[in-house]
Structure formats: C-alpha cells, structure tokens
C-alpha cells in the first residue's frame, strides 16, 4: 500500500487548509488556556449529577434484567385474581393488572426480554456497521462507493418500516425483533465509522506516522482506530436508546414475544383496554422506557462531548 493520497482538487485542498488554520488558532488558544488552568477540579459526578443519575438508571435496569429476583419476590406470570386492577401501593408499587399480576414484577422481568433484544440489536449494528464503515473508509475507491450506496438505500427506508419488512420475512419473536432492529441500525454505524475513519485518516498525525515509516496496519491499529472509536462509542449509547424505543414499539404493535411473557412494549399495549380506569398500567411501564431512553441519550451526549474535547 502506497502512502500517496488521491490527487485532490486544489479548491478542496485550500478549504482544508483554511479549516486547519482555524483549528490551529482555536486549538492554540485552548491549549494555552488549558495549560494554565489551576489543577484542582471537582470529580465528574459532582459537577454533573444528571449524568450520574442517567448512569444509575441504566445500571439499575440492566441489573433488573440480570437478576430480577433480587428486586421483586412476586411472580410476573401468576396473578392473584382477588387483587386485580389495584392502584400503586406499598405492596404493589406499580399496581396490578386485570389478572391481579404485580405490574412492578412484570416490568422488572420484562426488562430481560426487552434489554436482551436491545443489546443484541446494538451489537449487530455495531459489529456489522463498524466493519463496513472501517473497510469503506480505509480502502476507499470502489468498495467505498458500493458500501455507501447500500447505506444510502438502507437509510432511505424509515428504520421502523425496514424492521417491519424484516419481521414479515423472519416471523415474530424477541430475537427476530432484535435482528430486525439491529439491521436497521447498521447504516448509522457504518456511516459514522466511515466518516471518523476518513477524518482521522486525513489527520496530519496519521500522515506523519506514515511518513515516518509506520506500516499501514500499525497506523490503522495505533492511530486510526483509537481515535475513531470515541464517536462510535457515543453512537452506541445513542443507538441503545433508539433500540429500546424501536424494540418496545414493535412489541407494542404485537410483534414481540407471545403473551404472557412480559415485555415493556406489550405491557403498555396490554393496559390500553383499561385506560379510563387503570392509568398505571400504561403510564408506569412507559415511564420506565422513557427514563431509560433519556438516560442513554444523556450518556451518549457526555461521551460525544468527551471525544470532541
């Protein structure tokens, strides 16, 4: 592999130079400022309590999914008919449903299926998308063109509809929903990874490494990947939130696990018949979904900011 970059039109070269000069000025000013700033800094969690809360929320629901019995002793499947449709109380923090099942237990146990699907979906997108983006951005040329046209096409179909088309072909169920949602996120991962690789690949320090004789593979491993990984990590957090939304929406529409297995989306849809009488059946599981997604977004923003700094 030679180090010659493709001949670029001078205009764009000039643009790059302009941007570089800007960067230089700002970086210079920032650098000088940072260097002089006094060393005593508060720990991150004191300065950003909302971020701490977001991490706590995500950690909590992951713990629900891993060891649900620690958080609730009640069965998510078998109800006590006498206790049906009770509002939130000390015994039933989230109330009970029309079969007298404890809603909190169903939400805690439901996190297992929902988060399984979410994590699987993000992993599919992360692995497949990053691989495509990495290859496209580093090899460039025809490979890049083909890969990006495919990504364009995937992006032209709204993610939810693409997932639904895949479900039509694959059938229903938690894992199939996960695969369908995961394939829908491949395009996002691919384009972010590609653009990061292109950006980092064009960085002067990467050329400097090559010009000092470092092999292409070493450049990729030591310089390109570590610097490109940050934004991809931030995207993973963001996509986690989006996948929670997509998985619950598909479950709400009835494409997830068959009843009585609890999933967050199907819990909300199950409460639809009691909207007028039992508000908690839709409100509380939905609130959990919203809190998790909001927390994932908050974490994604923090990661993004850290990589930008």
């Amino acid at each position: 592999m030679s180090s010659t970059s493709r001949p670029a039109p001078p205009e764009s070269v000039l643009d790059v130079l302009e941007i570089e000069q800007r960067y230089r000025r700002r970086a210079g000013a920032l650098g000088a400022r940072r260097a002089r700033r006094p060393g005593r800094r508060l720990p991150a969690w004191v300065r950003r309590p909302d971020l701490l809360l977001a991490v706590a929320v995500v950690a909590l629901v992951l713990a629900w999914a891993l060891v649900p019995s620690v958080f609730t002793g009640q069965s998510p499947i078998d109800g006590v008919p006498a206790d049906r449709l009770q509002g939130p109380s000390a015994a039933h923090p989230f109330g009970t449903d029309h079969l007298g099942r404890d809603l909190f237990a169903r939400v805690v146990h439901g996190s297992r299926l929902t988060l399984q699907a979410t994590v699987l979906a993000v992993l599919i997108g992360l692995v497949a998308g990053s691989a495509i983006g990495l290859v496209a951005g580093f090899v460039r040329g025809v490979v890049d063109d083909v890969a990006m046209r495919v990504v364009d096409v995937l992006l032209s179909i709204p993610a939810l509809l693409l997932s639904m088309a895949l479900i039509t072909a694959l059938g229903f169920g938690t894992v199939k929903v996960a695969i369908a949602v995961g394939i829908g996120t491949v395009a996002n991962f691919a384009r972010v990874m590609r653009s990061e690789v292109l950006k980092v690949g064009a960085a002067v320090y990467v050329e400097a490494a090559r010009a000092s004789g470092v092999r292409t593979s070493a450049v990729l491993l030591r310089h390109v990947l570590p610097n490109a990984a940050g934004p991809v990590l931030a995207l993973s957090a963001l996509e986690f939130g989006i996948a929670v939304l997509a998985v619950s929406a598909l479950s709400f529409l009835g494409f997830g696990a068959p009843p009585p297995a609890p999933e967050w989306g199907s819990l909300v849809s199950g409460g639809r018949d009691y909207l007028a009488t039992a508000w908690w059946l839709t409100t509380l599981p939905g609130l959990v979904v919203a809190a998790v997604v909001l927390s994932a977004n908050r974490i994604a923003r923090a990661l993004e900011r850290r990589t930008a700094a």
């Binding site: 592999m1 180090s3 001078p10 070269v13 960067y23 210079g28 006094p38 400097a208 000092s212 310089h223």
Partner: protein, 558 residues
C-alpha cells in the same frame, strides 16, 4: 495636543466564572488621538485581542471587564447597555476583523453586507444604500465594485474579502477603526497592498486606527506609536522608531531580536563544547554544510518535476508544480519560498514521495525514487523525514510523547522496548526538552515544545534529509527563533540536509544556504541566499523583498 479620541485606562478583563475565573488583562492603559495610528503588539496570550474586543464591546460571553475604563471622546463605554453599544459600534468605532475567509456571511452578497452597516444606523436604505456600498467598495480598492457587490464571498479572493471588510468597517464613517490582525491570514504581497490602501483611506478620512498585530515589524511600519503587550500588561509604549531601535523593556528587546524581518543575520550553531560561550559573530561561522556541499554528488536531485491535480469537471487539470529542478547537497539547507498556491508544499511532498509526480524525477544519491512502492518506499523513510507546519495536528493526541518519538524505531524494528525508550529520551534531550516530557501527552505541551517533539521524531532514524514544511509559522516569534536555532544546531551536530519550506522570506534568510523562489508552480529564482537578497533577478523576488515589513520604520525619517 488634542484630547484623546480613545482613552483606555487601567483596564482589567477576566474570563470564566467561579473558581475558574482568571484575569487575563491586568490594568492596561493607552490612548489613541484623532487621526493617529496606534499599534498594539504582542504574542499569543498577551491580551492584545481581548483588549481590542473590549474596546468594541464584543468580549465573548465568558469574558467581562472587571475594572478600569474605556472612554471614547470622553464618554465611558464600560458598562454601557447593549442597546447603547449598538449606536457606538459601526457608527463611532468600526472593526476590521481577523479572518477574511470567515468574517463575511457566506450566503449574503458582499454589497448587501456593506450596505447593512449603513442600514442599521439609518444612514441610507434600499437602492441608495446599495449604491453607496458600491462607492465604499470602490474606495476600499475593490476593482469592478459594481459587479463584485453582487457576488458572494466565496467568489472573491482573500485580499478582496479583506477589502470588503475594510469597506464594512469604514461604511458608517467611524472616527476610530479597530483593526484586529487584519492581514495576518494574507500573503505578504497582498498584505502590503491592503495595508497601503488602508493607510491611504485613513489619510483621506482622518480616521484613527487601533491596529492589533503580532508582528512588530508590521506595527512599526504602519503606526506612529507602538504599545507592546506581554501577559496582559503593557510593557512599553513609544514611537515606532524608538521601540525598534532603542527598546527600553527587555521583553521588547527580545521581540526585536527575534523578529526575523528585522535581522538579516543567519542563525548560527554553537560548538557543543562552548555552548555557554559568547556566540561568534555571524560572518565567520561558515556553515558546516556549505563546505561539504561542494564535494561529491548532491544528496537529492529534482529534475523537471511536474504535478497536476484533477479539477472538478471533465478532464481539467491544474499544474501545482511546473517543471521544477534543483538539488540539495549534503549538509546543505535549501529554502523554498512562495505564497499560498505557489506549489512549494507539493514540491516538498513530491521529494518525500508522499505524492507521485505527473512527470519528472526525484533522485536520491542518483537513484530515482519517484516510482517506489511498498518496501522500497518505506526504506526511503530511513533517509528522509518530515516536520509539519502545525504541531497541534501532527502529533496523535492519544499517544504519549515518548511513544510518538520512538514510533519510527518500532516501525523499523530497531532495538527492543527498553533501548527504544532510552533512544527516545536521548532524542528529547537533543531537542532540549526535559525528560519528564516522555510520559506526557501533546495537549500538555506548548506549541514550541510540540514542534520539538515532532523534530525529535523526525530524527529518530538518523535521516540524511529533513523536510521542514513551514515549521515555525504556527509559533510566536520568540519561540520561532529558538526552533530555528535548534534546527541549525542539529544540522551542525549531525550533518543533516534541510529542505526548508516557508512563505516568509525573512525566516528563510535566517537558515538557508540557497534560496529558491516559487510562483504559480514554477521555480522563478534559485541562488545563494546572499545573492537573492542583494541582487534579486526576478521581478517577483523583488516584489517579495519589498513586502517584507519593518523597512520603512527604520528608513523613514520620523
């Protein structure tokens, strides 16, 4: 003596809030009288730009004036409410900003942007404002102003954009114009034209100018009085001539000493053993290189090098490098000078093999390297290395300095981990960095220190040729001087050859044995340094020489 137009007294400005609050301007005082040009000179971090922004009331949100006063025609500006500021800005104080590329709105026609300055102060509207904008642009020296006024910033060159910005600054007829590094982003010849024209306009309108610059020579050329700032304080104020010829403050003296355009002496190396001794005068220090250069085959020969880039559109190309030939001897420094777009950087990249020439040859010890690939191309790295312009971008922010320096060794499998580490420490010592830098990351270092790290990396494999692409243009002058000294010292110690690329003729003079002048891809002149400066043959070289600032102040009778 008239009453001052602008009176800044004991001005204190700080940035940040709470425990991060930090004062950056510590009680600055100076005056500008009607019709006078006052230059504020300082390096980055001196607070000169912050002071200028306080004068126009445009400090960034995190900045605030803590004390002191800024009086315009006797009226206090500090603490003025935003609404009142609006009738001051533009109408009474104009601003010519720093960066002509970014300081015009890309989606509005330039005429409209000039007219806006009239419209907001109710001086003209509609067609009348547009007509007046064309007049202002003509006055600012924009050719075909009627046509240009209907164009967008992207259609104008940097020099033209700066003229538009001057028209904007003067549109509403302010009595004071604050010019914040108005030409730093421009090529020297354009810079000279723009500044000449600004001076002409100022004479006609009687506007006073507060001129902010990092370049002492430019300041001395253009201003009647110079205010020297350092670390948020005014260290010296005086006439341009006095500051240049008889600086009172040691900081000013060091600034004068390190300004490349004010000295013609070549930077010389000290014998290692006698590093503490008084430096010998410039003349006898015959550069190690020149003696060696005569003997034997040159290290690098470049023959009829051509590089074409494809332009957008069918089959159109642009010649970035057009038939360039030169050679670099062992231990010699060849300087390549040219303005932006002259092809000097592309030439350097061709020499290194980072670009492939469209035609022509690059011979290293007589062997053509232009077509090398793979292994052979990598082997070339042992002999030729590169130091980049921008030390903020050329070091991987995630990698510790020691590893960066040792990376070429690792790449070629030189030694084991421990020996590479020792070598990295040696190299850092050689570039005069303390050993504890080894573990640090680039962000913790200053610009000058980073450039030293980049030089250490370039030296790791003991190359014969080091290509320096504008290695000091991103640095403050005092730092510049030290990096140049280091480069010369290293050359003397190791017999290196340099290809030294710069836009700044004055810097090239300080370090080169021979100088090549490039323009539009062609090498228009190539001669020993002294000859280029005393008997330039090409008219363009003459033009470049005349554009070097700092001559007028010394020549003119005050």
């Amino acid at each position: 003596m008239s009453a001052p137009l602008l009176q800044v007294s004991d001005l204190r400005i700080s940035y940040g809030s709470g425990s991060h609050r930090r004062e950056v301007v510590h009680g600055v005082s100076f005056e500008v009288h009607p019709g006078e040009v006052v230059a504020v000179v300082g390096e980055s971090g001196s607070g000169k730009s912050t002071t200028a922004h306080a004068v126009v009331g445009l400090l960034p949100a995190s900045g605030a004036v803590d004390g002191g006063s800024v009086r315009l025609e006797g009226e206090e500006l500090v603490g003025l409410p935003e609404r009142a500021w609006r009738s001051v800005r533009g109408a009474r104080i104009g601003l010519v900003p720093q960066d002509p590329t970014l300081s015009l709105n890309p989606v509005k026609r330039v005429g409209e942007q000039v007219a806006e300055a009239l419209v907001v102060h109710g001086l003209a509207r509609g067609a009348a404002a547009r007509a007046q904008a064309v007049e202002l642009l003509t006055a600012a020296g924009l050719p075909d102003a009627g046509v240009r006024a209907r164009q967008y910033p992207a259609e104008l060159s940097g020099g033209m954009r700066q003229r538009v910005l001057i028209a904007v600054g003067l549109a509403a007829g302010p009595r004071l114009l604050v010019a914040d590094e108005p030409t730093s982003a421009l090529d020297v010849t354009v810079q000279r034209q723009v500044l000449d024209h600004l001076e002409h306009l100022r004479r006609e309108s009687g506007t006073a100018v507060l001129f902010i610059t990092h370049d002492l020579a430019v300041a001395a050329d253009r201003a009647s009085r110079v205010v020297v700032m350092s670390q948020g304080r005014v260290v010296e104020t005086g006439s341009a001539r006095q500051v240049l010829t008889a600086p009172r403050h040691p900081y000013t003296a060091s600034l004068v000493a390190s300004a490349p355009s004010l000295s013609s002496a070549r930077v010389t190396a000290l014998p290692r053993a006698a590093a503490s001794a008084v430096p010998a005068p410039a003349a006898p220090a015959a550069p190690v290189g020149r003696a060696a250069a005569g003997a034997g085959e040159p290290l690098v020969q470049v023959r009829s090098l051509v590089k074409e880039f494809a332009l957008p559109g069918r089959g159109r190309t642009q010649r970035a490098v057009d038939g360039v030939s030169f050679s670099i001897g062992r231990g010699e420094t060849l300087g390549l000078v040219g303005e932006s777009g002259s092809g000097k950087t592309t030439t350097a990249r061709l020499v290194l093999g980072l670009e492939r020439p469209t035609s022509g040859q690059v011979l290293v010890e007589g062997r053509d390297t232009a077509g090398l690939r793979g292994r052979a191309w990598r082997e070339l790295r042992r002999r030729m290395q590169l130091v980049y312009q921008n030390p903020y971008a050329s070091l991987d922010p995630r990698v510790a300095v020691g590893e960066t320096v040792a990376e070429p060794l690792r790449a070629f499998g030189v030694g084991d981990r421990a020996s590479r580490r020792r070598r990295a420490a040696e190299l850092l010592e050689k570039v005069q960095l303390p050993a504890d830098v080894l573990e640090r990351r680039p962000a913790e270092l200053s610009g000058g220190q980073r450039q030293r790290v980049a030089i250490a990396r370039a030296l790791a494999l003991d190359p014969e040729l080091v290509v320096c692409d504008e290695p000091v243009s991103a640095l403050d002058v005092s730092v510049q001087a030290r990096i140049l000294e280091l480069l010369v010292q290293l050359q003397a110690d190791q017999g290196l050859s340099y290809l030294f690329i710069s836009h700044d003729l004055a810097v090239v003079r300080q370090i080169s044995d021979r100088v090549g002048v490039m323009r539009h891809g062609e090498l228009v002149e190539l001669a020993p340094t002294a000859e280029v400066f005393t008997r330039p043959r090409h008219p363009y070289t003459v033009e470049l020489l005349e554009a070097i600032p700092g001559r007028r102040a010394l020549e003119e009778v005050p």
